[in-house]
Amino acid sequence: MSLPLLVLLSGITGVFLVMIFLQLMVTLSSKLAIFLENKAQSKTDQ
């Protein structure tokens, strides 16, 4: 594979890969954060 083609394909793949993983992890971390905050809230309420 020629160098320019390698740069092109790896670049596009890399950018989308990062963003897809990031999207997934941000969604999961939001769920975790909301769970932890609700748990802390319910402890405070008790």
Binding site: L8, G11, G14, V15, V18, V26, S29
Partner: protein, 370 residues
């Protein structure tokens, strides 16, 4: 007579040539644009003065001796200043809109399409692969990232590419709207999006930590930019380091901006700048920018094929990382179609995602080409 000859030989006037005078005119134009038109004045003014200084006869850019050479060498060639700017940008950025609507991260990736189109264009015009990568990254509309990549891959392109990137960032309100209108229908521009949910403090604290881990694991070459960016954001969101966050946003940012601007300007001597390739860089820069806008809009339209709750395709254009200008433009174009359509916060999602996307694109170029 001998006295006059000696005096003449100590002056710099004799070593001037027409190219220096042309560069003075360019510096005066930039000073005018910065002061009168307020086009990115914080950067354009130091850049313009750097151009003026380096095109006056002096040793100010002499390697190992000149003051501006030291700023350039230790700040940019060592790639110290761009990550420090990213620290400040991180401290200024609110990632709430991205966290509330993580789909917008994909739009930040989509807009990087312009980077790769310009990369191919630069190759076609005879640039080397490394130079083409630096020209392409202008399409990300991110000055510090452009400088960072140029310092690593093609230092000779740094000045012109930085000026092109900052010039086009200032011209976002001129370049983007025609492309956005061309690619969307009136009905699409009228799409209203649901208000974003409130994002908690803990979510905002998790975000920079997770982003740093994911990005650096996948693209280690983006570590210095993204590491500093995420640190700046963590300082902001932690709520316990306000002094550091404020310093990163204000004093540090202002200081490094002066060094960055003046030393980037100082790379633009007449011998380097007045070449036909510079014209190609400016043409490719605007192509990159327009294509990045188009790619963002088209990706948003593509995503709408699969989404229940449609997104307004205009926010895809904000995937270029000119923050917050590109988001404001998306909002303005949307409100022209429907006065009550408030897109600004929705567009901030892809806008800040674009900062990450451009840094990742630069990291990918580095990982293959360094």
């Amino acid at each position: 007579m001998e006295f006059l000859t000696n005096m003449w030989s100590t002056m710099g006037i004799g070593s001037l040539y027409w190219g220096n005078v042309v560069m003075w005119l360019i510096a005066f134009l930039f000073i005018y644009l910065a002061i009168k038109k307020e086009y990115e004045p914080l950067l354009l003014l130091p850049i313009a003065f750097g151009i003026l200084l380096v095109n006056l006869p002096s040793e100010i850019m002499t390697p190992g001796e000149g003051l501006l050479w030291r700023f350039y060498h230790y700040g940019e060639e060592w790639a110290v200043i761009p990550p420090l700017i990213f620290l400040g940008i991180g401290a200024m950025t609110d990632f709430g809109p991205v966290i509330a609507n993580p789909k917008t991260l994909l739009l930040g990736a989509g807009a990087q399409g312009g980077v790769y189109i310009a990369f191919l264009g630069a190759l076609a015009l005879g640039f080397s692969v490394s130079q083409a990568a630096v020209v392409g990254i202008i399409g990300g509309a991110d000055g510090p990232t452009t400088i960072f990549l140029a310092s690593k891959l093609a230092p000779e392109m740094m000045g012109v590419c930085a000026v092109a990137a900052y010039s086009y960032m200032a011209l976002v309100p001129v370049i983007q709207p025609p492309v956005m209108k061309l690619l969307t229908t009136e009905e699409e521009r009228k799409i209203r999006m649901k208000s974003l949910r409130k994002v908690s403090k803990l979510e905002k604290i998790f975000f920079p930590i997770i982003t740093a881990i994911i990005v650096i694991l996948i693209v280690p070459d983006a570590a210095s930019l993204m590491g500093m960016f995420c640190l700046g954001n963590l300082l902001r969101e932690s709520g316990v380091a306000d002094r550091l966050s404020n310093a990163a946003q204000n004093e540090l940012m202002n200081i490094v901006t002066i060094f960055l601007g003046v030393s980037v300007g100082a790379t633009m001597s007449a011998e380097v700048f007045l070449t036909p390739k510079v014209i190609f860089v400016f043409i490719l820069g605007i192509v990159a920018f327009a294509c990045a806008t188009a790619c963002g809009v088209l990706l948003a339209k593509f995503m709408n094929l699969f989404l229940k709750e449609k997104i307004n395709p205009l926010i895809g254009a904000a995937g270029v990382s000119a923050v917050p200008m590109a988001a404001r433009v998306a909002h303005k174009v949307g409100s022209e179609a429907d006065k009550k359509n408030y897109l600004l916060m929705h567009a901030m999602g892809p806008n800040v995602a674009g900062v990450i996307g451009t840094a990742v694109a630069a990291g990918m170029f580095l990982s293959v080409l360094k």
